[in-house]
Every structure is written in C-alpha cells, then in structure tokens.
C-alpha cells in the first residue's frame, strides 16, 4: 500500500498530464466548456424538482437540495466507473509501446471526473443559498464523505477496467446494472417508501445509499454523519479497493495480449 502511494507520487506529473488530457478532450469544441459541469446538474435537478413536486409528492424537507445531492453523487459514481471501464483499452497504444503501471490510467480517469464533481458541488451551494438551507460547521464533513465515494469509485473502476479488457461487452451489462442501481438508490425518493424486504437490502448493502445519506445528514440535517453509516461506507471502500485492486494486479500482465 505504501509502495503504491509512493509510486503514484513518482508518477504525479504523468497523472496530472493525463487528467488535463481528459479534461481538454472533453471540453474541447464546447462553447460553455467547464460551465457545463455546473449547468448540467442544475438543469437535471430543475427538471426533476418540477416532475416530482407535481407528479409524485414526497414530503421531504429542502427537496431540491435532497435531490441534487443524490443526483450529483450517483452521477459521479456512474460516470467515473463507466469511464474507467475504457481506461485501459483506450490507452492501448501507449501501453503497447512504453512500460507504465497500468492502474495509473484508471486512477487518472476517476480523478479527472472528480474535477466535474467538485464543479457540481458549486451548483449544490447555489441551490442551498436559493432554498435557504443554513450553512453549518458540519459541512466540513463533505470532503470526508466525498473521499469515501472517490475511493469506492477507484476500486470499482479498477474492477471494471480489468474485466473489460477480456470481455468488451461488459459495458452493455454494466449499463443495465447502473439503471437498476439508480432505482435502488434513494436519489429522488425517501428510503422509507421502499417495501420492507427491499429496504432491508438497500440500507445494508447499497454503498451509494451510505455515501448519499451521510452527505445529506451533514448538509441538510446539519449534524455530523452517522458514524455507523460512515464506517459501513469505509468497509465498502476497503472491499472495492481490495477486490478491484487484487484482480487488476493479478491480470495486468495479460492486458497487452488483448488490447
């Protein structure tokens, strides 16, 4: 573990360059550029607030903030992991010609999407101001909760990146999984409305539930996040990094034969 952190530090220039490459390619030829990261979650939140305050009515305090938090965090997970799925294949031309630790590519993908996530955070602040959510010292928990989410995404990203090298069609399966996962995560509804048997599974085994709920606690309820929730989130981090990291490490010498 210490060895890997040291290696990441040694490759910091490469990681920075890969991140700026990802961002450049993403926003090149788009007029509003980085502003999209802010406007996109705002727009989606607006649509969903209109839909859900008129069609289904949930009795949730500060619903726009409730919604945009779930939306932003889930979206980050889904985008970052889908991007990392291609991180190894996409950099095939580089991997074929120069020796580089291959997880660097997955790591920089998840990290460059984090830039988007942070920009979306300013959209959340904007909505907080508009809907008059009080600011409290508990907001200091936001980076810690975000870190938990980030680490989870790296672990899952590594798992998907190595699997997609051998099985390219995993992307189709994953998009189905993501759809199911979206509805199984209380993003736009309160977890209480889930039927009891489903509620049992979601609050125990859906890591996204842990991260989103912790975030809502420190932003909307202005308390510290439930420590039990944070601990379970951390366990999912360890699980994701453990499984993803081990499989990636085990299979990475074979990548070259498949890309």
């Amino acid at each position: 573990m210490v060895g890997i952190i040291k290696e990441i530090y040694n490759y910091r220039d490469l990681i920075k360059e890969l991140i700026s490459k990802n961002l450049k390619l993403k926003y090149r030829r788009s007029v509003l550029g980085y502003l999209w990261s802010l406007l996109n979650p705002l727009g989606i939140m607006l649509v969903m607030v209109i839909v859900f305050s008129n069609i289904f009515r949930f009795d949730i305090e500060y619903y726009p903030v409730y919604l945009i938090i779930g939306q932003t965090m889930f979206n980050y997970m889904s985008v970052a992991t889908s991007h990392s799925m291609y991180s190894v294949i996409e950099n095939g031309p580089l991997i074929k010609k120069i020796f580089v630790p291959k997880y660097i590519f997955t790591f920089s993908k998840v990290t460059s999407d984090l830039v988007d996530y942070l920009l979306s955070m300013s959209a959340i602040v904007l909505v907080m101001i508009i809907t008059k959510v009080p600011f409290s010292w508990n907001l200091l928990w936001v980076p810690i909760v975000s870190l938990e989410l980030y680490i989870f995404c790296i672990g899952l990203g590594l798992l998907l990146a190595q699997a997609s090298v051998f099985f390219r069609d995993i992307q189709y399966i994953y998009s189905v999984i993501i759809t199911a996962w979206t509805y199984l995560t209380p993003i736009f509804y309160p977890d209480k409305i889930l039927p009891e048997w489903l509620h049992f599974w979601v609050v125990r085994f859906n890591p996204m539930f842990m991260y989103i709920k912790s975030m809502r606690q420190c932003v909307i309820e202005q308390t510290h996040p439930d420590f039990k929730l944070m601990l379970v989130g951390l366990l999912f981090d360890i699980l994701a990094i453990g499984i993803g990291g081990l499989l990636f490490k085990k299979n990475q010498s074979k990548f070259i034969l498949y890309i």
Partner: protein, 257 residues
C-alpha cells in the same frame, strides 16, 4: 520474471536468460462474454499455444550496438517489447540495468486526438521526464523534428514520417542508457534518416547501448558492432555484425527465389 534497476557498473546492461514468451491463440481471440460462452459450449476454448520467443538467452554489455535481423514474424519486436517491460516472460529471466527509451513500431505512444504539442509533453512525461524539464527542452525537440508549423494540429493528421520524427526527437532528447529503435526510421525521408543515424552515432560515442531492428542490412552494418539473427523465436546466430550479416545475406536470397 523481469527486473529493472539503475545502471551501477554491472557487466551486462541487458541479461536475458532462457526467456520464453507464450501466447495463447485460442483464448486471446475471444474478447467478449457471448463468444466466450459459445466457445465454452462448443468446447473450443482449448489451449493452443504459440511461442513468440522460445528459450532465448542473450547478454549485452553497456555501450554495444546490436542489430536484430530476421524475417517478419521472427520475434524481433516481441524481444524488444520483452526488454522494454511491455511484455512479461512466461518463463525465464530478464534483467535490465538502466534507463530505456523505447521506439517500438510507429506512433511511439501518441494520443491521436491530441495536438503535437500536447503529445510531446505527454510522451516525454511517459518516458519519465518532469513537466518542467519538458518545457525547457521543448524547442530543442521541435528543432530536431523540424515541425515548427504544425504544432497545434492533432497528431492524427500527421503522416507516419512526421510522427516518427517527433517520436525519435523525444526519445533521444536525453541520453538514455538503452535506446531501442524498431524500424521506426524506415518511414522517414533520406535526409532525416541520415540525421537520426548521426545522432545515434553520437549517443553511442557517449556510451548508450543501442538495439536496432532494420530490414536494411547496410544500416545495421553501418550502425552496429554486434548482430543477432532471429528466426521463429530463436537465435540462429549472434556475434559480430559482419559475420552474422554475411551468413544472413545468402538466406535472404534463397527466400526471394
């Protein structure tokens, strides 16, 4: 097993001992789950192995210049990939004591969507230079590649010759302990080839170890002092350049007839 370390006065800069590179031709052509299950049901997932390099041993001393000859598919590129750490040996041992600048096949690790300027930075950093260092030497690279006018054009619009120029300029900007040149120069024009050979000569004089793959035996004779003739993943002959080339030449003639 493959080991990399800094050069510390070892006798051999590259030491390959009984290395074997194995490909599994049956499963490596399957890259999706659907096909995997179809083949699993049809029982076609048998092991069909192919040895690109077989029980290969070679020791190279610092400062030597080795030319590799052999027909297409003989295993030359696989060998160079093995030395650069891109491929891992299935069996045997590879020890490399020094920094490597690999120029393997065309493109040398460029991202086609990025501009030449961005690729120069990315590629230099991939080779282990810092960003600051690249800024300092940027003009030098462009100067050598003679591409001042097209720096902000995506590299996919470049000809293969132009790409080779940039790749060579980046790789040889700093003196690496080992320079690997795998046919990349074949696409350059005559003038640029001469310029590259001149630079390689200068680097050899400073003690760089050169590994060169070329189908032009004159180039090999001009640049190298040793040569290795490879066929079907094995050494047919290795030693001084004149000797190997003189033995390889008649073989070429036979194949042409």
């Amino acid at each position: 097993m493959i080991e990399f370390s800094k050069y510390n006065g070892e006798e051999y800069i590259i030491d390959i001992e009984n290395a074997t590179v194995r490909f599994n031709m049956a499963t490596e052509s399957v890259d999706n789950i659907k096909e995997y299950f179809v083949k699993l049901v049809k029982r076609q997932l048998m092991f069909k192995e192919f040895f690109a390099i077989k029980d290969f041993s070679l020791k190279i001393k610092p400062g030597e210049a080795w030319g590799f000859v052999g027909t297409n598919g003989a295993g030359k590129s696989t060998l160079l990939k093995l030395i650069s750490g891109i491929l891992e040996p299935y069996k045997g041992k590879v020890v490399v004591n020094g920094t490597i600048a690999p120029l393997i096949e065309l493109g040398a690790g460029f991202d086609m969507d990025l501009t030449a300027r961005e690729n120069i930075y990315l590629n230099g950093i991939l080779l282990g230079h810092s960003k600051k260092f690249m800024s300092e030497h940027f003009d030098e690279i462009v100067e050598f590649a003679e591409l001042w006018d097209f720096l902000d054009v995506p590299i996919k619009n470049y000809s293969s010759g132009m790409q080779a120029r940039i790749a060579f300029a980046i790789a040889t900007m700093v003196k690496p302990d080992i320079l690997i040149v795998d046919e990349v120069l074949a696409v350059g024009d005559y003038k640029f080839q001469a310029k590259c050979q001149e630079r390689m000569k200068a680097m050899l004089a400073e003690g760089t170890t050169l590994l060169l793959v070329s189908h032009n035996l004159d180039d090999i004779k001009r640049m190298c002092d040793h040569a290795c003739w490879i066929d079907k993943g094995n050494i047919v002959m290795s030693g001084l350049v004149e000797e190997v080339c003189n033995n390889y030449m008649p073989e070429l003639g036979e194949n042409n007839e």
